[in-house]
Amino acid sequence: MTVAEAFEQLKKDGQAAGVELFPGPKDAALVVTRERVKAVLRHLRDARPFACDLLVLVTGTHMTEKKDAKGVLVREAGFEVIWHLRSVQHRSILAVKCKLPTADPTVDSVADLWPAANWHERETWDLVGIRFTGHPDLRRILLPEGWEGHPLRKDYAYPKEFHGINLEVDAPWPTP
């Protein structure tokens, strides 16, 4: 099932409220509003035509504003979360996308729908700083507890030291 077919099927099922089709340039995706995203994901998992039982990946991206040479906006500022879902039966892969405002990157957790989402959401919180409400245990997973900031944000400032360890790249070598 392609993403366009999935969009048509969602319309038939009466679940297309708040869903738009992102046609590409390369991979198409379903763009869902923040309020509807969990209901749509649940429908994609449970409804028989989709049967997306395998959650492949949860990605968070920090988007900064970008304009092309003519001053036309080509990338809006904000956050994007993408869920890649596979259906084992139908041999298909679907991408569902949700756009979040810069000031409040919060979205519903799907860890209760797919336990696989648990660690992906923890990693997204750790590195990108997107908060998943309803997650059973949202704490850092790769970085140590007590780390400040979220490194995959584009405005991330590298720390100068961590627990007394000097992290400055061009710091002089300590004399023995």
Partner: protein
């Protein structure tokens, strides 16, 4: 998280007292029962522990010898893979991908290059695709040999480890011959491969495959039907298909549970639709479907299928022809704007790269779907209820590479 080696709560027993009979104790009358109180204890396993295959730390809560809860703690090998992916160009990033799953570096190269080629619309010449297939499948055999050898090692079988590494050494020699490195190959490049096959390489692979097929049977004598090995792995860590899919398991771990799901067949990339091969699944020969032995057995059978694929690829390998795409200018490579996800079948499961490009030399976002990361998360669900000694058998059967878990 609490410190290691501490009892949870106060000194008072947290579990109700259990009574056990002590049979044949000459000092007591035969009908006496003794109170044996158990107390929940948190123990720390790793990050320096031989059976964790790297720097994995597990906090395990046990009641007697039964695991009640397990909490994997990862991140000790975190090297900011995705941040590096944004700060260097696509061409420069290929050698970094070697370092994630270092036992299957060819597969990592391939996953990244295919994703970039998808976004940048690069057409790869046919000969390069065959060379890629040969290299990737040889690397898959080498990776499974490490998985099987070290799995035996975890469970106390020392000898199979040497047999596995003897065969792996041959494969490493063949791969070193073609690209000069034994582990971090950087051989598959965006648009093709680094260099053409050296003279005599193809013939040597054929010789090796003939020898290797006979030697695969040695593993059956040494390990597969070994009574102790079967006792440690059969009916241990049984995983149903539903549970495996819910936790996003892929690769041999999913197939060990009986689901015939392989991306080489489901969504063929490279030239896999031209080859004939079977997808082995666990059938519960020694115990139940989806136990540790099944996962081991699937890996062993997969090596035989890889041998078949390499043979066919060698037969079909076109003589002469380009090995690098014409339209890739490596010094000034710029991807097209767009975003795309591409997953391939790594020896450990689905390895995927999700790339967002804004038309520059660097990716705007390069997200890695590491199979070991997803496979490891099932420990929280698998370990509770098992014996502590079986925890080692279960972790080994999942076959993780920590370089990929932490990235």
């Amino acid at each position: 998280m609490a410190d290691a080696m501490t009892t949870s709560g106060a000194a008072a027993p947290t579990q109700p007292a259990k009574t056990f009979a002590l049979p044949g104790d000459p000092l007591r009358p035969p009908d006496t029962f003794v109170d044996v109180r158990t107390q929940e204890l948190q123990i720390n396993m790793g990050p320096q522990h031989p059976s964790t295959h790297g720097v994995l730390r597990l906090a395990i809560w046990v009641d007697g010898e039964i695991v009640t809860r397990a909490d994997p703690d990862i991140g000790y090998l975190h090297r900011c893979a995705e941040k590096i992916g944004e700060s260097v160009s696509c061409i420069q990033y290929v050698p970094y991908t070697d370092r994630y799953d270092y036992l299957a570096a060819m597969n990592n190269n391939l996953g990244y290059c295919l994703a970039v080629e998808k976004v940048a619309e690069v057409e790869v010449p046919e000969r390069a695709q065959y060379i890629r297939t040969i290299a990737v499948e040889l690397n898959r055999i080498a990776s499974h040999l490490v998985a099987i050898g070290t799995y035996g090692l975890d469970l106390g079988a020392f000898t199979p480890f040497f047999y596995a590494f003897r065969e792996r050494e041959e494969i490493l020699r063949l791969l070193e011959w073609i690209c000069g490195a034994r582990l971090t190959y950087n051989f598959i490049r965006i648009g093709g491969v680094m260099r053409d096959t050296p003279a005599g390489w193809v013939e040597d692979i054929r010789k090796f495959l003939d020898l290797f097929e006979t030697r695969l049977d040695e593993f059956n004598d040494l390990l597969t039907h070994n009574h102790i090995f079967v006792a440690r792995t059969a009916n241990v860590g049984v995983l149903s298909i539903e549970e495996a899919v819910r936790y996003g398991l892929t690769g041999p771990n999913l197939r060990g549970s009986g689901l015939r799901y392989d991306l080489r067949r489901e969504q063929p990339y490279l030239l896999y639709d031209r080859f004939q091969f079977d997808i082995p699944v666990g059938t519960g020969i020694k115990g139940q479907v989806g136990d540790c032995w099944d996962r081991y057995w699937v890996r062993l059978l997969e090596m035989r299928e890889s041998v078949r694929i390499v043979r066919q690829a060698l037969d079909q390998l076109p003589t002469g022809g380009e090995i690098m795409a014409k339209n890739v200018r490596h010094l000034a490579f710029k991807s097209k704007a767009g975003e795309g996800y591409l997953g391939i079948e790594n020896p450990r499961g689905e390895l995927g790269y999700y790339l967002i490009s804004d038309g520059g030399a660097n990716s705007y976002r390069s997200r890695i779907r590491a199979p070991s990361f997803c496979n490891l998360s099932i420990l929280e669900s698998m370990l509770p209820g098992t014996m502590l000694a079986d925890a080692v058998a279960i972790i080994g059967s999942i076959d993780i590479v920590l370089g990929e878990v932490d990235r």
